[in-house]
Structures are given as structure tokens and as C-alpha cells.
Symmetry: D2
Subunit: 373 residues, 4 copies
């Protein structure tokens, strides 16, 4: 009989639903140390919470997240509320001794993220931030190949996360445009940064180039509101391992829906990847025979853990929601102490630090060292 | 409060598990007319059944599928047992008034499939066969585009389902090599046929070319066994709509894991698709401006129902298991009478008829008409 | 000082021009045994011939190809006139002791092609038919890899040559629709057949499926003319080496401009190729490490002779006209006795025999053996 | 009768040969205002020059380029000698009133390039620098589409030119590593810069990031030599039209042979291109119907001038040497006054200015304005 783990979820929007998919699928797909009970869901109004409870299968609903967080019967608090609320919620949950799972970004500002990470560490609870693209078996494969020296000594990197969901200048001003923590670099460039460090290790220095292209947006009340956050955030990078590189976060890249791409090259090989076809990793090896060299399209399969949990045959492909299930599974194993936290609050803080350093560098027009690499 | 639908599952292997994933996900992702209860799971031994019960979350377990089928508390019987058993199980379930969901192939022989289809129709229960590739939103899009005339009058078709899981001549003889119902054409060529008729409508005449490449295989007891089923099954096709085409089923296609591809062209446009990248559909339109024409890579998104149920943003991609959830959802809606059965036993029979006609044509070396088109 | 070879060209249309490009480029790019002089060009009227002479740089022009063919100062006659004239021209040139280079098809009917091939062999002159796609270094690479056993024992083949230049039903009736020798299979399916035998060796048996889709076309005089030739010509194939396969020639494949593709698989590997990206060959090897297997995109480079003659750096890419230069170079070397004829009249006859056997099989609806394999 | 233009070529290496191919092909393919005579070829020794004369078909050979430049019978001097000699040669040719065609880079230092450009302009002769990638019909198409507003207002750009020909740390020190004018940014990043301005117009500000990865190389005499030039040269860009972007030049990009890529996006569309498949341009238009949008693979064809000069059918593809023929044709037309110089010395100077500004910015770690935009 598995130990039960009782979950309290805050927020029932897109990401709340995705988390529930993740918990449900993870328990079917993986052999996990816990049986997760969907104990309670909190939302702004009781009506919303109750509707979500029924739709998603929670036992209880509440419009008072603070009360839920203090409920001694719950083990894990999962936060998918707007970014600005993450800190208060997480600190309260930590204070109540709960494990805390928080959607990215951990907090709009790194100072807040730091406070959260430190509180979690002091309390000894287990945390997780939702950087789900890292949960792709092909990214794990890429990291393993790099670590095993299959590319030789790493020399360079190009990363990108480009979409076009903010390309329309008539799109309304939202919390994503908030000067505190908003912008393309923070919103999706953060994924590019997470992937870069996941693969190559710490970034030590950055030069930022953050640009506001759409200077004002409708405020939804008939007027317009000035936008100060970036639509494109680029950076040149130096890594601790000696490599250099660049990343870009871009939410006005017309035509692009999920261009989370990278190319990394070393003395003996190279990898090329696009999230547009995220069940593939392209590998070039200088060890291949003369006249037979080329980028090799490796398709995800049971050789690439944990793909085999989802399907015993290669080439069938995982979907976006499967990545969330892998994320959940890793977190539950970390709670059980079976493995380290895959991407804890400290890691979430790290991303915020990188973002802020790049933004600061962009403003000053100078290279900056990244703290705490 | 949703009506409950109590499920009895036979079989707990790869496909049994995939079905459970499908039911679980479908209920999270869709707003379905029923709440499905995982009531009972049957397997060959009680130990297997009990282990599966615990792992997959069923209420009860049994080693007696006949008893389960007769349990008046159950509404739906889901069959993922070996092909040779499908018929007895389905007929018993139909006799007990249950809705029946059966993995493909419906039965190794079309005569058996016919008996099953007719029994189901007489009983008035709802049936489903698991042709999950058809559940891809991009295939629905392709069908819609063809039906709407976006390609003009359809002239030709090329279909393929090639993998390499039987390419190793040292792979053991299995039930898939059984002369009654085995072979590449039946096992995966069936998908190519299903897709062809899904898109273009009835096939009226066929010429088959079925080839055994690996003539004997290890029997697992130190000897070898002669293989008479095909490793490659090809056919030329005529469609009722006037188009001609070809398909191929191939399980010795070295290097290919999921080459379920098609290309269809008409007087005004063409579509090209590969299951290797199944979140994309490539569309050529003669209506595009001169000098600007080309195959357009359409990426799956919320515009392509029911993608939006899984994810609100385009380009994030569905996985293989998501297709199963769509299949389950369609079946549950059909049970509720909301829509026609997506792929019922009659449709399953149709595929078996096509397969047998192609095999017969291959043996006789002549074109044959397909019955009951 | 190189020996001179004096060329007489018949025809100054698209192909005539392409041949001149080929001769000119071949002499710059290769170190050839001859210096080719553009001695004389023949066309239907003196005005056309003279205009072509001036534009293309020939020494003389004539409207009397018979006279030119008999000119003792000429060494090679190059025929790019309409197909129906190939035979008379070639036989006259052979009778005059000239080497003969003839555009494909050698002749509309295999009986004529046979007469031409036999006459050439009796006369001991050197012949060439223009199957330029075979001159691609990546096809030579494919052939070498197959011959060297890099794919193991060959099991299967899929070939295709699809374009859309006859997709418009309002396109006028031309010599390409002539019942004697016309149709998609003859016009471009011939390329698919040539590639199939180039790679795998002789085809021994065929089953044809030749279809007329556009049954009548404008005759250019205000009326229409019935079309009896195929718009799509398909065939199932058996090869002498034991492999089976299929090819298709298709000139109504909307959206396709140059889909001369093939996929070949053996016990140890596979190749995939598309003329749409003809500087690439995709290679899968079962010898690659577990978890690292995949189709490898080999880009043409100096490792793939004679690419290096055109460019010392890989990845720069050859163009269509460069393939013609390679064809010319091979022919000139064959004339000099340095190498066998790359694709002589006997080989051209072979293609016509395959085409006619497939057409005959299509009419009879039965498998047929191919003569003289 | 066409006017003759007598050519004197300096240098008979890779680029010298490519130029001869270009002149030869251009005259066959285009209807040009001149007949070019290969009058004289100069190389370092008489033996080399004479060998090149015979191989390439020049009338005369010399080991004294100064004498050749002064020969009153010559009209055009074509310089493919080492970069360091370009200036003296060009100035002498200009002084002698010759038109001058010079391989890229115009000169290692922009000060020299300026002197050359100004001398040419004062003398009123016509000049050309060999930026052949710009001669691709698909790049002309891209520029036309941008100019015509098919992408709307341009917002951003990413350019790249990556190869791996210097990836081997044991590769010898060459003139390409010379501190004056060497490095990846100058050698191939120059192409990325040329393409960026070709498409979007003037770059006004840059921030450079130029990195030496392989710090020393064998000197060919048993020792090593320190390398100070960059192996990777990156830059952030601002364009006069308001767009921002980035480029990278990289000659240690393992696995890449010709990754001259760009992506440009505007308010209404986007283009994506890779020189690895340079006969294709991928176009996204927000004007396409909902649910039917996607990047469209436009294949080069007769609609994209001057492709039709080479081949009357689309999809047959141009090769690298064909681009050189287009370059030559454009220059000859410019000499005849039919069109402006496609890429004259002033344009070559511009590229050197950009390179030096980026290098200077990299050293200072600050944004710099580009002179003379």
C-alpha cells in the first residue's frame, strides 16, 4: 500500500489544469512512491473553486488559500496563481511545513525568489519550479552525451526561445508586461537560460540586449498603456566551462509557436535541437567515417529514459503534457528522498538572477558577472 | 453529477495500460458525459490481475473474464487480450448487453469480424476499435480540408506504414506471424488502409503484393519455424471517388520507427504528412500567389480541435498517448449518443476485409473488387 | 595539346542549351581527354540554327541535319531533337561512324531503341543517353555503399519521380501524350526505373498500374484530343538480387516539382534520398550505438567524387546543370576509352524495355517477366 | 556582334578557377552585353601561370601582374590573389583605367578598402566584390518581399554563417589568422553582415563579442604560433529601419559546412532561410487563413529571376557555381551601364567597416555607432 500524499492546488486556469493532468498521468505512467490525493483546490471565488473541484476531481474546494495552506491534512501545496502572488503563498506554505511546487517564474524579482529559496531550505521541505521543457528525455540525452564527452570539450552554444503570442500590437497589456518581472526574456527567455545551464553548467558573465518593440498596448479600458518590458531579450554568455554562447527570448517572432532551439558544439561533435520537433535530437560526431558524417536524427524511444514508461515502442512520441508528468514524477521521487530535487527553488532563483543580470547589463551597456554561479 | 460508467478491462499488457492512460486522461482533458469507474480488471492469473489492479487503480481483479463480462454492474468491456481471443470475449460481452471496446485488429479473420459486427448491431450496443492514429487532430484537419474541396477533386494517394521492429531475422516467431491474421499488412498496413479510407472514402478495387522476406524464425525452443505471413504488404488501390493510389505496410523497414505517411493530391492542392512528425500537416495550394507557392507546414494548435483541450497554445504538441485519450473521448460520447461511433466494429470489419482482399489478390496475381464498399 | 573532338548538335531548345552548358562546364571543371569544339548546330530552319549558333557559340549552322551528320570533320553527334526523330538521326550518325549522344528517351518504342543499340554496337562507336540524375555524386555514394555491403543484404526499395507539370487539365496535348512512347511513366517514371537499377541491379519481374487521369486535353485548335497515355504509372518490382519494391512516375502530383525520391533498406542499414534536396543522402546504420541511432544527413562534399572538381569545400552544393557536366565528362572519358560508357544505348534500351513491360502488365493485369535482365 | 571585353585574371587557385567557371557559364546562360575574352592570367611563377593558362583556356600567361595591369588591350582586371595584395593590385588597375573585380574581402583593413573605393570612384571605373551568396534568386526574392511589405514592418533579424573548417586545433596558422584582417567574423561573418544589410538596409549600431577559442596553432615549422583573431564573432545590431537583430560568424561550428542562415520577422510575416538548402525560402504569412497558417517552403523556379536562365523547370536547383555566374552577369551588365554595380568597392568597404566596428566594440565592451551608414 502506497503512502498517500495529499495535494492542495492554488489556481485552476491553464497551468492548474496542466498540473492536474501531470499528477494524474504521472501516477499511471510511473511507479511512484506516493499515491497523490487531489485533496483541495483553491481559487478566487467559491464558485470558481467549486467548478474546478468538480471538473478536475478534487475532494474539496475553497476560496481561502491561506486556510488551505494551513490545513494539517495536506502535504504539498501546488501554486499556479499569478506570479505576483507566488511569494506570499509559498512562504505561507513553507511556514506550515508543506512541500511546495510552484509554477515558473518562482517570483518576479530575484530578491523575492531568494527569500523563498532560503525559507524552503531552512524549513527542509522539498520544492519544485515548473521548468517542464527540461523534462524532455531528449534533453536528458543531450546532457548525458555532453557529460560523457561525446562532443569532446564544449566550445559554443546558441539558444533560443521564440514564439509569436505577443506579436500583435493590439494585444492588451497584461501582467506579463508588468515592469516588475515581465517581458519576453523573463517569460520565455527563462526557458532558454534554463536549458543552457542544464546542458553546459553555470553561466558566469552576460551581456544583455533587451528591447521594447511595441511601446504601448491597449489597457482594456479604451486607453493605452506604456510598455517598458522587453519584447526581445538577447544575451551573450560566458560559461564556467570555458564555452561562450548566446541566447534569445522573443515573443514577437511572427510564425513561431515553439522555437525553443539550441545548437551546441564541441571538439568532437555537435547537437542540434528544436522544440518544434522535440522528440528528436540531431547529433554530429567527428568519429563517424569519412564521407559518412552528418547530423543524425535520433528519435526518442525506450533507450531514452523515461520514454519507455509512456510507450514501449520508439518513434511514437511524447506530448507536452507528458513532459509535465515527468516533472511531477521527479518531484514526488524527490519528496520521497529517492533523488535530488530536479529543479528546486534555488534553481528557480538562479534563473531569476540570470534574467535580472541580463536586464541590468542591457541597461548599463556593459558586461556583468552573474552572482553565485 | 455525471452518470457513472463502469469499465471492465481484459488484459494488462502494453495496450491495457495505454487504455487506462486513455481513460484517465480523457476524463481530465474533456468534458465527458460520463464518469468512468475502473471497476474490474481481468488477466490470465489472479496474481497478474491483482498486481494490475493495484498498479492501475481498479476496484476489483479477476482471473475469469467470462464472469466479469456477465457482471451486471459493468457497462463497458474493454478488450486488450491477444487477437485470437477477441471474438469470444466480444461476443460474450455483447450477449451480456455491454458496450465493447476492442483493440485492433478486431479479429484475425474477416469472417469473425463480421460475426462480431453483426452481433453488436443486432444488440444495439456501442462498439469501438482502436485505430488511434485516426484520432490525430491533423488527420481530422486533412479530412476536413479534403471534404471542403480545398484540394479540389482528389486524384491520387500514396500511403505507408513502415517500421523496423521485425527487421531482425533472429527475432522470435510470435502470434503476429500466425498464418491466420498475422503479417505486416494486417498488423500495421491496416493503419495505412484505415487512414486512406478515412481521408478519401471507400476503396473499391485492389491489387496486392505481399512478400515474406524472412522465411523462418526461431521458435523459442531451439528450432525454427517457417513464416508464411508477409513482411511487406503492398497494394495498388482504386477509390470510389475516382482516385487511384497505393499503400504499403512494412515491418522490416530498417531505421523507420513510425513512418505512417501519406501524400494526397487533387486538382487544387496537396497534403503531405508523416507520423514521425505528427503534429504537422503540410499543405500546398495552387491558390497561393505565383512565386509564393510551396508546401506549408501547419503546426497543430487550438484551431485544430480537439488540440485546445490539451493545451491552449499552439506548437506545444500532442503525444501518442494523447491520441488514445481522444479515441476514448469519442467513444464515450458515442455511448452517450452525442455523436456516431468514431470507428465501430463495422469499420473494424471493413479493415479486415480490405486486408484479406489484398492478400487474396496477391496470391492470385489479379485485381480484385472489395466487398461491401 | 589535347586532341580535338568536334561536336555537331541537333536541336537548340531547352535540352540543346543544357547540353552546351554541360560541354562548356565539363571542360572547365574536369581534366578531360579532349578539347570539344562546338563545330555545328542544326535546327529546323536556317534562321533558328543561325540564331542558336550565335547565341551558343558554334562555328557553323545548318538546317540540314543529314548533311551535318555526314560531315567527315565531325566526331560526335548530339541529338536533342523531338523523341520521334531520335532513331533516324542516330542511325544516320552511326552509319557515318560518329559517336552519338542522345537525350532520353532513346526512342519511344523499345523495338526502335533496340535497333539503335545494336547498330551502335556493330559500328563500335560510343553512345550515351542523358539520364543525368544518375550523375549525382550522392547517387554514386549510395551505389557504392550498397555495393560495399554497408546496408547488408538489400531487402526492399521504394522509388518515385513525381512532378506537377501536367496537372493542369487545360494544358495542351503535346508529343508527350503521344500513344507511342508518351506518358508519365515513360517521361519521368523512366528516371525512377533508371535509379532503381543503378542502385540495386536488374529488375526481373513487374506488375504495372498505369492510369490516365486527364482523359482529354485541348488540341490547340479549339477542339480536344483524347489522351490514352498514363498520367500516373506505378509498378511493383522484383529484383535479381532478391529484393522487392515499387516505383511510381507521376506528372500530376500537385505541388511537387522534383520529387525523385527513393528509400532502400537492407539487413544492416537504410538510405533515404530526395532530389528536392539532392546534395544530401540520409543514411541509417544499425551499427551505430544503441540510443544514438538515426538517419544521418550526409551533405555532398569533396569526399564524394566528383564534387571536389566543382568546389573544394563541402556543403556548397551542386546544381542541376552541374549534373549535366558530369554526364558529359563521363561520356568523353568513355569515348577516350578511359572508362566504360556510363549509360549507353543498350542501357537506354533497357529503360524502354522496362517501361513497355510495365505498360503491358498494366493492360493485362498480370505480372510479367522483364526480357533480357 | 557583341563588343569584346578582355579579361586579365590574377590568381589561379580555388577562387581563380571559380571566377573562370563564372565567366564561362555567364556567357552561356545569360544574354550579356559583352563577349568576354580570357586574355591573360597572372600567377607568381611563369610555370604556374602557364599551367593555368592551358587548363583554363586563357590566351596569354604572365608572372608579372603589374605588366598585365598596364596592358592597354585589357578591359577588366579580376583579382583573386591573397587578401593582403588586393589593394596594390586594385589601385594599379584603377590607375590604368581598368574595371576591377576583386574577391572578398576587399582589403583586410577598412582604411585600405576606403582608399580603393575612393580611387575607383574618382576614376569612374566599375568595380565588383565577390559576395556571391547575395546572388541567390531566393535572396533576391526575400529582399523583394521585404521591400514590398509582404512581411509588414520589419522588427527583428537573426543571421548566422557557421562552418567547421577551422574546428581542428591542429590546423595550421594561415593568412586567415593574421591579426590584420583575419578571423571568423571577417572571413565568413562578413557574409552574414552582407546578407543582413542586403535584406534590411543599413546597420547603425553594433555590440561585438569576438572570441579566440583556439589560442595557438602549429606554425608549420614545428612550433606554434599565437592566434589573436576570433574563431567566433557575434554582434547585436540596430538597423536604420528600426529593427534589431544579431549575427554570428563562426568557423569552429563542428558539423556545419554552410550554415549561412537567417530569420527575419515583421508585423505581417516572416522568412526563414538556410544556405544548406539554398534553393528554398520559407515564408510565413499572417494573411493565410486561420488554421492553415505555417511556414511555406518556396522552391526556386523560373518565377524567381534569374533562375529561369539556368533551367526552365522549377525545383531543379542551382548550385554554388551558378551563383558565381549570376555575380559575373550582374557585373558585366553594370560595366555596360545597364544596371548599377551589384556590389561595388563602396559596398565592400562597408562590410569592412562593419567588421572593424564590431571588433572594436568587442574590445571596448561597449556599443558603437557604425560610420557612414
Amino acid at each position: 500500500m502506497k503512502k498517500k500524499l495529499r495535494l492542495g492546488l492554488i489556481g485552476s486556469g491553464f497551468m492548474g489544469k496542466t498540473h492536474v493532468f501531470g499528477f494524474a498521468a504521472a501516477q499511471r505512467v510511473f511507479d511512484l512512491p506516493y499515491e497523490v490525493e487531489l485533496a483541495c483546490i483553491a481559487d478566487v471565488t467559491m464558485a470558481q473553486a467549486e467548478a474546478a473541484r468538480a471538473a478536475l476531481g478534487f475532494q474539496n474546494a475553497t476560496d481561502d488559500w491561506r486556510q488551505m495552506v494551513d490545513d494539517p491534512s495536506l502535504d504539498v501545496i501546488d501554486i499556479t496563481a499569478p506570479n505576483a502572488l507566488h511569494k506570499d503563498m509559498a512562504l505561507a506554505a513553507i511556514a506550515a511545513g508543506k512541500h511546495v511546487y510552484c509554477e515558473k517564474p518562482l517570483a518576479p524579482l530575484s530578491a523575492d525568489a531568494r527569500e523563498m529559496a532560503e525559507a524552503a531550505e531552512r524549513a527542509g521541505i522539498k520544492t519544485q519550479v515548473g521548468f517542464n521543457y527540461l523534462c524532455n528525455p531528449m534533453l536528458s540525452l543531450a546532457r548525458e552525451m555532453i557529460a560523457a564527452g561525446e562532443l569532446g570539450e564544449i566550445r559554443g552554444y546558441r539558444g533560443l526561445h521564440a514564439e509569436d503570442y505577443m506579436a500583435d500590437a493590439n494585444g492588451q497589456f497584461t501582467f506579463r508586461h508588468d515592469p516588475a518581472g515581465g517581458g519576453a526574456l523573463a517569460d520565455i527567455g527563462s526557458h532558454a537560460l534554463a536549458t543552457a545551464e542544464f546542458l553546459l553548467g553555470p553561466i558566469t558573465r552576460v551581456f544583455g540586449d533587451c528591447i521594447t518593440v511595441i511601446g504601448s498596448r491597449p489597457d482594456g479600458k479604451g486607453g493605452t498603456r506604456t510598455v517598458e518590458t522587453d519584447d526581445v531579450g538577447r544575451a551573450f554568455l560566458r560559461f564556467e566551462n570555458g564555452a561562450s554562447g548566446s541566447i534569445e527570448g522573443n515573443w514577437i517572432a511572427t510564425g513561431r509557436k515553439m522555437q525553443h532551439d539550441f545548437e551546441v558544439y564541441g571538439t568532437k561533435g555537435a547537437l542540434s535541437f528544436s522544440q518544434e520537433r522535440f522528440n528528436e535530437l540531431h547529433f554530429f560526431s567527428t568519429g563517424d567515417a569519412k564521407g559518412r558524417q552528418g547530423f543524425r536524427r535520433i528519435e526518442a524511444g525506450p533507450d531514452h529514459s523515461p520514454y519507455g514508461r509512456f510507450c514501449v515502442a520508439p518513434g511514437h512520441q511524447l506530448g507536452f503534457n507528458d513532459l509535465k508528468a515527468i516533472e511531477v514524477a521527479g518531484y514526488l521521487e524527490a519528496i520521497a528522498g529517492v533523488r535530488p530535487e530536479p529543479f528546486n527553488f534555488r534553481a528557480g532563483l538562479r534563473i531569476q538572477t540570470l534574467i535580472e543580470t541580463i536586464q541590468k547589463s542591457s541597461r548599463s551597456g556593459t558586461w556583468l558577472a552573474v552572482d553565485g554561479a
